[in-house]
Structures are given as C-alpha cells and as structure tokens.
C-alpha cells in the first residue's frame, strides 16, 4: 500500500500535477454543469428553451402535474420500473449466487450470456422482442414492458451483486451451515446483510435502466401506454415544450435523493458493522 502511495509522485513535477488536476476538473465540470443548467430553464417564464431564461414562473411544473399525458407517463414509468426492479433484484441475485460457485469456461460463458443485454444494441433485441410480443399479444401491455425491461435490467444487479460476493468471506456461510442453519436461513441472515450495499446500487441501476429506456418502450408502447422517456423524447423532437425542463429537474432531484439515501445507508451499515 505504501509503495503505491509513493508511486504517483514520480513522473511529474508540480506543473504537471496542476495540469492533470486542472484537466480532471474541467472534465468534471463538463459532466456536471449541463445537468445544472436545466434547473433554471425549468423556472423560465418564456415559451422556449432559449437561454437565458426570461421571467420566473412555476407554470411548467403546474403543467407537468396537471397535464394528463405527463402525469400518466410518470405514473406508468414509475410503476413499470418498480416492478422491474423487484424482479431483476430477485433474478440478478439468484444468478450471481449461482455463478459464484462456477469456475472457468462454464462461468465465463454463462455470465457473458447473461451480461449481453448490457452490451448489445437495444434496437437489436428490440426488433425481436417486438416481433415476438406481437404474436404473444404482449404489446401495449404492462406485462410486456415488465418482461422486456427485466431482461435488460437484470445484468446490472448481476454485476453489482457478483462484485459484492467476490469480496465476501465464504467461511461465514460454512460457519452458519455448521451451526445448523438451513441454506435459506444462511442466505437471509448471513449472505444478504453482507451483500446489501451491492444489492442496493444494483437495484438503483435496474430502476434507471427501465425508467430511462426509450427504444423498446417506443416499439411496445401504445396510445394509452407511453412511458415518460418516450414522451420526453417525442416532446424535444416535436415541440420545444419547457415542461421537459421541469420533468428533467424532477428526475435529477429524485435520482440524487436516491443515490444519497443509498450512500447514507451503506455508510451507516459499514460503521455499524465495525462495532
């Protein structure tokens, strides 16, 4: 550890370090600032996205929460993403537990297969899913959305839980088993509390994967079922409706709160665990 800490000082002098951190700061700024720009736009009194916003008004928020299509889209997306999160947490955890005991080629093949939705273009599986779901009468239905999105979201849980299981002391499970605990009891009392941080971030990723999905949702949607991102996507295309800035601000606020809550609970757990 000590050698690693000594290492970075070696290449560069002071000017190099300033340039490096300056560059990092610039990149960080360009990652964060665009999101913050949206917030003042959402309180604009003008009827467009033009900058700087003119006047101050909350009418885009009023529109967001009173217009039928926006509220319906929000509720539908939230509902679908919630069910998808629960399902993919269960499936992803099962897969991670199953894969953690395998080694070599079977492990690599299976995990590669199960991870593929994360890497393959959504439009590729989307075309197939749309074709098959048309036959199964699963288009324009909540069930169809949930099934298609769960296949996309499960890999996120699988990765985070698999990572949590890697740094996990297996003898704890053997100890529980030798004390007479059933596998199920062992899982809920020993394994689950230890992988909980990984599970929580996996659940958040899974929720966002569904809540943010546009391509498959555009295929599967119908006049009565149009999820929020599809609504937003068509809205920026068709008209410059500043309600979009209001939705975006709400999404940014809610996601930040969720991340904050997960970090807090993970921190509390790790502090509590050391006692």
């Amino acid at each position: 550890m000590e050698t690693q800490r000594a290492f970075p000082q070696q290449f560069a002098r002071r000017s190099g370090a300033i340039a490096l951190y300056g560059f990092a700061g610039l990149v960080a700024f360009s990652l964060i600032a665009p999101l913050l720009i949206i917030i003042p736009m959402s309180f604009s009194g003008a009827d467009s996205f033009a900058f700087p916003p003119r006047g101050l008004s909350a009418r885009w928020y009023v529109n967001l929460f009173t217009s039928e299509s926006w509220t319906r889209g929000m509720l539908q997306s939230f509902g679908i993403a919630s069910v998808v999160t629960v399902l993919s947490v269960v499936l992803g955890t099962l897969a991670a537990l199953g894969l953690s005991r395998l080694k070599g080629i079977p492990q690599a093949t299976l995990s590669g297969l199960l991870m593929s939705p994360m890497i393959l273009p959504a439009v590729v599986s989307g075309v197939g899913v749309y074709a098959v779901f048309l036959k199964w009468h699963l288009t324009a239905s909540y069930l169809g959305f949930v099934l298609a999105h769960t296949a996309l979201a499960t890999p996120f849980v699988l990765t985070t839980v698999a990572a949590a299981l890697k740094g996990f002391d297996r003898t704890l499970e053997y100890a529980a088993a030798s004390c007479g605990a059933t596998p199920v009891a062992t899982f809920f009392h020993v394994t689950l509390p230890l992988i909980r941080p990984g599970l929580a971030s996996g659940a958040l990723f899974a929720f966002i994967a569904s809540f943010d999905e546009v391509v498959i949702a555009s295929f599967l949607g119908g006049p009565e079922l149009k999820t929020l991102p599809v609504q937003m996507f068509t809205s920026v295309y068709v008209d410059s409706d500043p309600t979009l800035a209001a939705v975006s601000t709400v999404i940014i606020a809610v996601t930040s709160l969720a991340i904050f809550a997960i970090m807090r609970s993970n921190q509390a757990r790790s502090v509590g665990g050391s006692h």
Binding site: V123, V127, T154, P183, F205
Partner: protein, 296 residues
Amino acid sequence: MHLPSGTTSPDAVRRAGRWRFTRTALVVPVLLFFAAFFLYPMAMMVAKGLTDTPAGAGSWANFAWFFDDEANMRIYRHTLWTALRVTLFCVLVAYPMAYAMLRAKGAWKLAILGVVLLPFWTSAVVRNFAWVVILQDRGVLNYLLALVGIAPVSILGTSTAVTIGMAQVLLPFAVLPIYTAMQKIDPNLVRAALMLGARPIVAFTTVFLPLSLTGVFAGAFLVFVLSLGFYVTPAMLGSARETMLPQLIFRQIDELLAWGHASAMATVLLLTTVGILVAGALLTRTLRHRIGGTRP
C-alpha cells in the same frame, strides 16, 4: 473449499456440498427467463431477416438489399465512423482522468470516481436534453460566446454535437478499465526506470504507458461496441445527415413495417457488435500475455 477441519461435523460438510450444487442450480430460472424474453426474440429476429422476403426472392434478399443500397451503406459507414470518433475522444479524455484518479487520495479519489460514474446514474434523455439547451443556436454556449464577443456557432445537429453527447455517456466505460490496468502496474518498475536514470517522460512512455495499454484497449473496444447501438443521442443531437444504423432499423419498422429489411439490418448490427467484441477480447488477451509486468 477451505473448511476448517475439526470444527465442522461431517453432516455439515455434506450439507454444504449439497448447498453448493443447489446454489449452482439457482442460475436455471434466470437462464429460462433470458431464453424466453431475450434469446428467443433475437433468434426470431435473425430468422425473420432470412424468411421475410418478397415472393420468389432468395433467403439473402434482405441482406442483398442492405448491402446494395448506397444510402444504407453510407449510414453503416457513418455508424462505424461515429463509433471510432467517440472511442478516440473517450480514450483521450479517459486516460488522464484515470491517471488523476490513481494519483488522487482519499476523498478526492472518491469524488473523481463519483463524477465519472455520474452518467450511469442520470437519465440519458435528460442528459441529451441538457446538451440541446447548451448547444442550440440560442443556447448557453452562444450566449457565453456573445458575452466575450465571439460570433455564434451552430453545433446542434452536427457530428460534433453527437460526439460530445455520446462521449459523455460512455466516458465511464473507458475510465474504469484504464484505471484498473493502471492500478495493477507494479510501481517498482517505474521506480527502477527512474533510478536507472530515465527521464520521467521516458519512464512514462517506455514503462507505464505500455503496461496500461491492456486497459486502454479493453475500454476502447467496449466504448466502440456500445457506440454502435446509440439511438437517443444521434436522434436528439444530430440531424438527418447524422442518422445511425439503429435509427434506420427503427424507422424501417415504425414507419414502413418492413420487418425483413429491419431484421436483416439488426442482424448485421448484431454480427458487427459480436465480431468486434470477440476481436477485442482476443487482442486484449494477447496483449496481457505479451506485456505482463503486473504486480505479483
């Protein structure tokens, strides 16, 4: 298996063994779910591309249509070219970011990591919308340019806008593998080079940089492959000239109901993706074998 002998009863060992078997079986329901709602649909898609052909035409009619049409080929080339541009941009930005993360300590390291991972946590539509607000003609960028007296620029709808938007989303996929590779480099190798009198820049280019290349290649291939599937960003930030293959596929179904054409194109996109992934995996593995030099 490292069971502490003496402390466990044979019964517990047997139970642990049985549990291990059951545990591997846990993957079965997930596999069935994947087979039904991911693999089977994709197989049907490939089959549709071969069978959903005009009467009298051969199985390859849809593929022939795709490869013979110059407009399609232009979009295919443009997709690959965009992916390449995004990859280069991402790697060039990610390398110093990963190095800054390696050098930073404690809370700073976490802060850089958090910022880099930000795109994972934020909605793609929201992020692209933010770029629309910034880059549009009456947007933030031109407002700021006007303040310092520079003539307005028109970026929204160009390939620059698409590259910026995509690179922002894909940056973490380049930073993380590069950082992981840098972390594995044995610092003593660099120290040895410096002690033997190499100038810092020489020590960097002959020792550190080659050893971090496995991460660079892993990240580059991942970014390239993910770029190929982008739909929302080119649609929101690009113009008709910036159309990429996923948009073309989507339009074939959504507007024309041309299932055969769409399926054939989706198959081409799938094969391109898988082919590049396999090539990337092989190259990264060869590099790793050839270079070595990681921490024991």
